[in-house]
Symmetry: D2
Subunit: 141 residues, 4 copies
Amino acid sequence: MDLRMDRAALDAFVQAELPQLRDDVSIARVAPMALDLRLHVGAGHLRPGGTVSGPAMFALADVAFYLALLAMIGPQALAVTTNAAIDFMRKPAAGVDLRAEARILKLGRVLAVGDVLVFSDGAAAPVARAGLTYSIPPLRA
Amino acid sequence: MDLRMDRAALDAFVQAELPQLRDDVSIARVAPMALDLRLHVGAGHLRPGGTVSGPAMFALADVAFYLALLAMIGPQALAVTTNAAIDFMRKPAAGVDLRAEARILKLGRVLAVGDVLVFSDGAAAPVARAGLTYSIPPLRA
Amino acid sequence: MDLRMDRAALDAFVQAELPQLRDDVSIARVAPMALDLRLHVGAGHLRPGGTVSGPAMFALADVAFYLALLAMIGPQALAVTTNAAIDFMRKPAAGVDLRAEARILKLGRVLAVGDVLVFSDGAAAPVARAGLTYSIPPLRA
Amino acid sequence: MDLRMDRAALDAFVQAELPQLRDDVSIARVAPMALDLRLHVGAGHLRPGGTVSGPAMFALADVAFYLALLAMIGPQALAVTTNAAIDFMRKPAAGVDLRAEARILKLGRVLAVGDVLVFSDGAAAPVARAGLTYSIPPLRA
């Protein structure tokens, strides 16, 4: 399986299409059906208590899977999440970046399904896991 | 069932503890086991295509349920989401606020479970639905 | 919105197509976008401890939504579940039937999304809730 | 991490406590935090169209995780599923057994969280994936 977008192409896509994220995330690895994404944790990601908020972890998992999908299908910005289920298992370490490991388990014509593990940088036990489904828009003729 | 926090108390909590949200959300209704929350949609909530992003809808559902829970148990800031499952069903209307309707289906000693429907303001069909579980921290002695 | 199948038509479908369920479930109510289904609890539905098992509640929620969908689209046996998220909230009462209340929140051309509440008969607080997505097969020409 | 129950002990538990499953499943592998379980597909597991039903796959994933958990904590029959989210990705092959691979991602004092991949025997691409949370009952004194 070949990649339709490599890391440089995905980086350019984030800069152009996801401006609110471009200072927050960086792509650590791209491979067929898999992508690792880092979140540079800032004040806007924190919740009462000082650790990364659930919505920030959700956003990280969601965009990691989105970029893993775009790597396979090309820059179809209008692919959308139809379903996500996320378990928050541990409190992230304070003051440490997060790393999301996304994999695609099914890449169909209209739906893509996969999951994501989220880790505090340097830790072996995940802080969260998510299952995600994306709807792939029909190609423009 | 009595409320431990009314709308004024919840508003004050949002101001003090959730500063990144205080300009974005407003509480529309509080009742036993139920709360409605509005999201004032801004540029930071949008995704490619111009509608509200999935993570922004997730964050709205999550905080709506959190506030519904705090209304029942008091200002326990450290209650945390342990699980969330969300279906994104329709594209939100552009340029329109969102309204989340949260209800608590089980309020246990250590876990609270419920669901949230999210609507574009003025529309009858929901744009998203979520099931959420929160873990309630033990009371300080 | 008209029903394509009424209770009698759905009962006949269950008899013909779902033989393993026909002695276990009965349709209590059919309405546009909603259906209530009862499970007659038997020994095969129980888990250690004597209450209804999780998989039996899952099966009830799944078939309730399936029948709610068929009522709207007609007897398309090959509609399939693509995603389900279920919260088990309370132990069902022993020796009591279960009642599932399914509603369809989105009925699209290829996907249907909705949720189900499951109750022990006579109780007001639900024992489980589920969100479900079904894929609707293309019509044969 | 040591196992509290090995394969022989788990087999005996299934025989004694899960009689409705004892002819259907067999434990293929037990390891710390992981267990593989096979489902011997029979007529009772099929849906219209002749492939394994969603509820049968759910039951397989649920019991695989349950046994993975018991291997770690011992024969606490009253551990219960509190949440499950399952994606059905492909039609299982007809006339072929299923294999579930369960792993525990968090084993806490009161909650255990993990996921399960389900495969048609001999196939590399999973037919389903599930995230599961179990509640662990307090130990009897």
